[in-house]
């Protein structure tokens, strides 16, 4: 009987083709919007995952101050690290491949008469190894340069492009934060990472020179480390935490005044953020899906009223009320499923067009498409049920009298 009901439903829909198409359009737009939004959101998530993978999962950083859980910024004031802390970690914590101090501040770089605002970092050459950051040209800092404050610098791709245009800039003079130095290397581009933060807009100078001539203090705000293996990360974190607490004289009841962060945590929080974004976008789009569903219900109710006499005729020639109900339900579900299928195509098309413009990869997820189709069918049943019941409950005598 279901096959016959589908056939009867198709016949009835075909008799009102334009109206059927417009009604399905509501669902098409709703499903399309959901699919587009989720595809974009998943693209953003994929971006985040790639970024984290590139940073390396063995990476561990410790920074001064404690970020409150869930809050942004709002740190507890605490004293900075110094180089003795770096050396103590090297000496006492096992399982670490690199331990590198990192200080940074914004500053202005000037070359060939051009000014450009950059992030100035003071570090050691191992920093680039720890972060897996290769040089595009030139060389990295020697030990002598690092610890004796030689005025050299390594620049990021963005800085190179802004200040030296076509040339690689190696060997050229550059003033950074008021200090004259010469460019010895150019970092390979890391590419756009998410939104505002441009990793490539950086000038790296030897740690010693940064402390003395730019920062003017021996403070270190962060220490970057890599473990030999991801598996030992937890153990390393415990040892590291104990050591730093001891060195900073924290009592048993006191909270940490530094933050230990590994990339898994960063990954988790960023993934959670993009997933929330995806859900949020999807939820907004889902509103239009509900509106489409209401459109279906509206048209089905109109259709029942219009076809009252026809329903009466069908009841007199042998249709059972349950068959009438099934037919109307089929009509609603056919409309929503057809709208849903076209909506998936339209949504993926829109996402394919929008994704490159939003700098996210175009991600397709068959599970989302299947879920959207299922939701469309459920909408059809949900919003088609009341009109179908109304049609089936018609009194044949009354229905026949209708003109």
């Amino acid at each position: 009987m279901l096959a016959e009901s589908v056939r009867l439903a198709l016949e009835a829909l075909g008799r009102n083709a334009l109206r059927s198409a417009l009604t399905a359009l509501g669902i098409l737009i709703g499903v399309g919007a959901v699919i587009t939004m989720i595809a974009i959101g998943q693209g953003a998530s994929a971006n985040v995952r790639d970024e984290i993978a590139r940073l390396g999962s063995e990476l561990l950083t410790v920074t001064v101050g404690q970020r409150r859980r869930g809050g942004q910024g709002a740190s507890i004031a605490a004293g900075a690290f110094d180089y003795a802390d770096v050396e103590a970690i090297r000496r006492e914590v096992r399982g670490l491949r690199h331990v590198v101090p990192l200080a940074s501040r914004p500053g202005r770089a000037t070359a060939r008469g051009v000014n450009w605002n950059v992030k100035v970092i003071g570090t050691e050459s191992a920093y680039f190894l720890a972060r897996g950051w290769a040089l595009a040209s030139g060389r990295t800092m020697t030990e002598d340069e690092t610890y004796n404050g030689k005025p050299v610098c390594i620049i990021g791709e963005t800085v190179r492009n802004r200040l030296f245009g076509g040339g690689d800039g190696v060997g050229q003079p550059l003033r950074v934060a008021g200090v004259a130095c010469s460019v010895i290397g150019v970092l390979a581009p890391r590419g756009q990472s998410g939104a505002a933060d441009d990793d490539d807009n950086v000038v790296a100078v030897p740690f010693d020179m940064f402390q003395r001539r730019i920062q003017g203090s021996p403070d270190i705000q962060g220490i970057v480390m890599t473990a030999y293996a991801t598996a030992s990360l937890e153990r390393v974190k415990i040892a590291l935490g104990g050591l730093l607490r001891e060195r900073r004289g924290l009592g048993a009841g006191e909270a940490d005044d530094f933050s230990l962060l590994d990339m898994r945590q960063v990954a988790q929080s960023m993934t959670a953020a993009t997933q929330t974004l995806t859900l949020f976008l999807g939820a907004i789009a889902a509103v239009s899906l509900v509106v489409g569903g209401i459109g279906i219900m509206n048209i089905m109710l109109v259709s029942v009223t219009e076809r009252t006499q026809e329903i009466g005729v069908r009841l007199t020639i042998g249709a059972l009320p349950s068959q009438i109900r099934l037919q109307f339900l089929c009509e609603a579900v056919i409309l929503t499923v057809a709208g849903g299928l076209l909506g998936i195509v339209a949504g993926l098309g829109a996402a394919a067009i929008a994704a490159p413009r939003l700098a996210v990869p175009f991600v397709t997820d068959p599970a989302v498409a299947a879920a959207a189709l299922l939701v469309a069918a459920v909408l059809g049943i949900g919003f088609g049920y009341a009109p179908a019941v109304k049609a089936a409950a018609l009194d044949p005598v009354e229905a026949l009298r209708q003109r």
């Binding site: 008799r15 069908r314 007199t316 020639i317 249709a319 059972l320 349950s322 068959q323 044949p396 005598v397």
Partner: protein
């Protein structure tokens, strides 16, 4: 055939003290009061009466389209007044065909598709129902109009399609509500001939409502309604008819 209406003939329809009241509590309109009526297998019964006399209400009860407010309606021995709509519809489907004043064909479906429709609801397969619909349309004289849409047929032809649709599932009883009411004299006579033919040849029980005395004239049994009551139930000898 001159068999008289006798005890050995099976009762197919029966109204037992059936009443039908319309409207809600407070302002009720009795449309049918205490009607007793027995229809036996193969009968041709004509119901006449002025408008508002209850003849259509009576027909709706006999056709199981409606249930009595009081009393009982028996269809082939089964009490129907307390059946759920779904069960009443199933009983109606199994025993009764309907022809109404207007042919009520479904637009944009061919004559053949219209006649097939009752078989669709009965779950008959495609090939069988097509064959039976063609056969039935030929039997009512429309073998050459199978693929015509309703609006390509004359009023008389449309009513023939409606009759074909009513009998294609081979019901025992045909309920006809003013089947010639919208037709001219010639077509009217032709439709009436067709009904008498179906009654004579197939033994189809026919209950027909009309307000045309000349049509009632030809009927072997005439029931007269007035003010919701059955006031006369005349049985005449079956008259000879064409075909």
């Amino acid at each position: 055939m001159t068999r008289a209406r006798q005890g050995q003939r099976q009762v197919v329809l029966e109204l037992a003290r059936a009443s039908r009241v319309y409207g809600r509590a407070g302002s009720t309109v009795p449309a049918l009061r205490d009607v007793d009526l027995v229809v036996t297998d193969g009968e041709f019964l004509t119901i006449v009466g002025p408008s508002g006399s209850g003849k259509s209400t009576c027909l709706n009860l006999l056709g199981c389209l409606d249930a009595p407010s009081e009393g009982e309606v028996f269809l082939c021995g089964r009490a129907t007044s307390r059946l759920a709509p779904e069960d009443r519809a199933a009983l109606r489907r199994d025993h009764i065909g309907f022809v109404l004043q207007s042919p009520n064909l479904i637009a944009r479906m061919s004559a053949l598709q219209n006649v097939e429709l009752p078989l669709v609801y009965r779950g008959v397969d495609r090939v069988t129902r097509r064959a039976r619909a063609q056969e039935t349309l030929r039997a009512v004289g429309l073998g050459s109009r199978l693929t015509h849409a309703p609006d390509e047929l004359s009023g008389g032809q449309q009513q023939r399609v409606a009759i074909a649709r009513a009998i294609v599932a081979e019901p025992r009883i045909l309920i006809a509500d003013e089947p010639t009411g919208a037709l001219d004299t010639v077509n009217s006579a032709a439709i009436l001939n067709l009904l008498h033919e179906l009654n004579g040849a197939l033994g189809l029980t026919i209950v027909m409502v009309t307000h045309d005395p000349s049509i009632a004239e030809r009927s072997p049994r005439v029931c007269v309604f007035r003010d919701g009551r059955l006031v006369a139930d005349e049985v005449r000898g079956r008259r000879a008819h064409a075909g």
